[in-house]
């Protein structure tokens, strides 16, 4: 088991390093950064100053090693655009994204689990079809469009909710629904498939034969077992959620990490972009690692293969 954990840790570290190199190189491949930062109408001398100020005239490898060395000393750098510490910016914005992420996940599960269960109980019935329709629409609709439809209905017409910002809890209602609905379909399909499989298994038949009430069979015996893969999927969906939050936070001008990422990309603010990408990658790697270890601990067969 220890050997397995060590192996997975090494792999996770390798992935994090690879992501940091990739993100570092990609943003620099997308054109002359100094020209982009200097902005429209900047003259040659302005661009030269930008280039020298940020050390963009050095070889990319030197820039990368310099950045990694600063990271190791706990210095995340200074934003090119906002001129303040990246660490401070990120810590300021993180709580908004965490709130949004957790709330959206809750919304997604609240939609997906009941729908999945109901659909599985009567496969191919109208209930199943309706649930499928909800899932297909959720997956097909671009989330920014769904967000705008919500705005149109709840803010412009009904005037119940504020359009944008992050001052009150009300400001989070529409972003949460939009983002939750965006990740819900994957959960729903997994719950449905899991339930259908479990409901057909021997122990369910046994439970029913023993005369256990149907409600208890579904909720206690079947759902519990069907939910195990959902836990693993949550980790994967968290990635979608964080990616989706860039769009949703931008649409609702919600002052979180996703919005910060959008601002950083549009201003070629490399230090911020790199740190945001790195944070997302590390979070993702850590969660995957935790899920792998948990699964291996639960199921010894998984350890052998590694």
């Amino acid at each position: 088991m220890i050997a397995f954990v060590a192996k997975r840790l090494a792999l996770a570290l390798a992935v994090a390093v690879a992501v940091s190199i990739l993100s570092f190189m990609l943003v620099r491949l997308s054109g002359d950064v100094a020209t982009a930062i200097a902005g429209e109408g900047a003259r040659e001398e302005d661009i030269a100053i930008v280039r020298a100020t940020y050390g963009l005239d050095r070889p990319v490898l030197v820039q990368y090693l310099d950045w990694v060395w600063s990271l190791l000393r706990g210095d995340l750098g200074t934003s090119y655009y906002f001129k303040s510490d990246v660490a401070g910016l990120v810590l300021d914005k993180l709580p908004v994204t965490l709130k949004l992420g957790i709330a959206s996940l809750a919304v997604a599960l609240a939609i997906a689990v009941p729908l999945g269960v109901v659909a599985a109980l009567r496969p191919n019935s109208w209930v199943d079809r309706a649930a499928l329709a909800v899932a297909v629409v959720g997956q097909a609709l671009p989330n920014f469009f769904f967000a705008l439809v919500l705005v149109m209905l709840f803010s412009v017409t009904l005037r119940w909710l504020p359009v944008s910002g992050s001052t009150t809890a009300w400001h989070f209602v529409m972003p949460t629904i939009a983002l939750g609905y965006y990740v819900a379909p994957a959960f729903m399909r997994l719950v449905r498939a899991g339930m259908i499989e479990v409901l057909g298994s021997d122990f369910i038949r046994t439970a029913r034969a023993k005369g256990v009430p149907e409600r208890r069979v579904v909720l206690k015996h079947a759902l519990r077992n069907a939910l195990t893969p959902v836990v693993a999927l949550t980790v994967v969906q968290l990635g979608y959620l964080l990616g989706g939050s860039v769009v949703i936070e931008t649409v609702f001008a919600l002052d979180g990490l996703g919005y910060l990422a959008y601002q950083a990309i549009s201003h070629k603010d490399l230090p911020v972009m790199q740190v945001v990408v790195l944070i997302l990658a590390v979070v993702y790697v850590l969660l995957t690692l935790a899920a792998d270890i948990l699964n291996a601990w639960l199921d010894p067969r998984l350890r052998a293969g590694m």
């Binding site: 900047a42 149109m152 803010s155 359009v163 944008s164 609702f252 001008a253 601002q263 201003h267």
Partner: protein
Amino acid sequence: MRRLFGSLVLSLALAATPALADKASNTVRFAYDQAPESVDPLFNNVRIGVIIGAHVWDTLVYRDPNSGEYKGQLASAWRQIDDKTLEFDLRRGVKFHNGQDFTADDVVYTLNFAAKPENKVTTQANVSWIARAEKIDPYRVRIVTKEVFPAAVEYLAGPVVIHPHEYYEKVGPKGQNEKPVGSGPYRITSHVVGKSVTLERNPDYFRDSPKGQPAIGKIEIRFIPDGQTRMAEVMSNGLDFIMSVAKDQADQMGAVPFLQVVSGETMRIAFMQINRLPETPTAPLQDVRVRRAINHAIDRDTMVKQIVGTGSRVINTICFPAQFGCTDEGATRYPYDPAKAKALLAEAGFPNGFEVDIVAYRERQQTEAIINYLRAVGIKANLRFLQYAAMRELIKGNKVGLTHQTWGSFSVNDVSAGTPVWFGFIGEDVTRDPEVRDFLKTGDTSVDPTARKAAYKTALSLIAERAYAVPLYSLPTYYVASSDLVFKAYPDEMPRFWEMSWK
């Protein structure tokens, strides 16, 4: 898809109940698409930075946007001492927001600080003309320019604001961004980086300021990147003022009863740059007949009427008509004449046209119209729509024949801030005509206004005659605001909240 959405929103908004603006609390809620990198005018080059800057800080000179006349703001009078020296008498009794008195030390410190390249002022051209500033007595200063620089007063009326010297020396540009102190009609009471800036009326603003005393008590500025979201905010009474609204959206919002749509001409001009250098990727462009054909091929009047919008006008030279030195008098004009364009192409040896890439970075719809006009005379133009920085690299590397560009001259009301950028032999000059360069140089550096005007006129006529570019039109901008707000649109795209009031 987005347009469809716009109409949907509109139909619902019309059904919705009209709301009162935030008149009761005397607050204007305003949103802009991007946050400034710093609120210190010396350290940003974005429009919202210019807007905030003009409210929080004052300059030595003020240019009256209605008459174009220069008036004393922090200075009460000024005079030219010699070719390179200007002397300013400073106003007494002006206080900064922290209570400190304004004196010559503030002017001298700020200008000398800004002039040093190592202090890295964002737009060097705004300050690089300053050699030094000297204190004569507590209320008199002299500013010495490096070269003869007739546009100095224009710059001192625009981007060069005056900071309180003791405070600025202590906190630096970083502290000035976090807790800004100026002397303007509004002071910043809250600045959340990347999210919002709140301005409140400065109760001690000096009586004689040409900006006048502000009536609006508070301005809440939020940064909302998405245009649809900003639109939804004004329609649900979450905002009172937005700007740079797309023409089609503005047209629709004109029908909402509690909103007003105001459009106006801006100083931003649109034009096409033509690479005629020996290294051009499109050799036919070296022939003047081909360049003239391109000029004749485009129906600018129809474009202005149908897609550019209200407030726009056709231009015939590469400058904004109100700029000092800008004129189209005596410049060759190229009316829309596709038959003549075809004839010119045939004469140049291209009866079947040729292929060319056209690079653009904004107003895509307009570029597409231009492409259709060019195709109609046989020039097979292909669109390459890029980010500004990427386009700029292509131009500098001689990798593109035609570009559809725009230029706002940093709102500087002088040809020196525009035309020389494209024809003065710097990075993006893709025509490089020494004769044009020399006339522009004379215009940029003569002291005598008549000599300047004459030199610019000759340069602009040469550019037109040799068809080095295609002058298109000035671009309009649309504002959408609560119908209770009284305001005026100016060509420099500067909403002046200190002038606004409620109906």
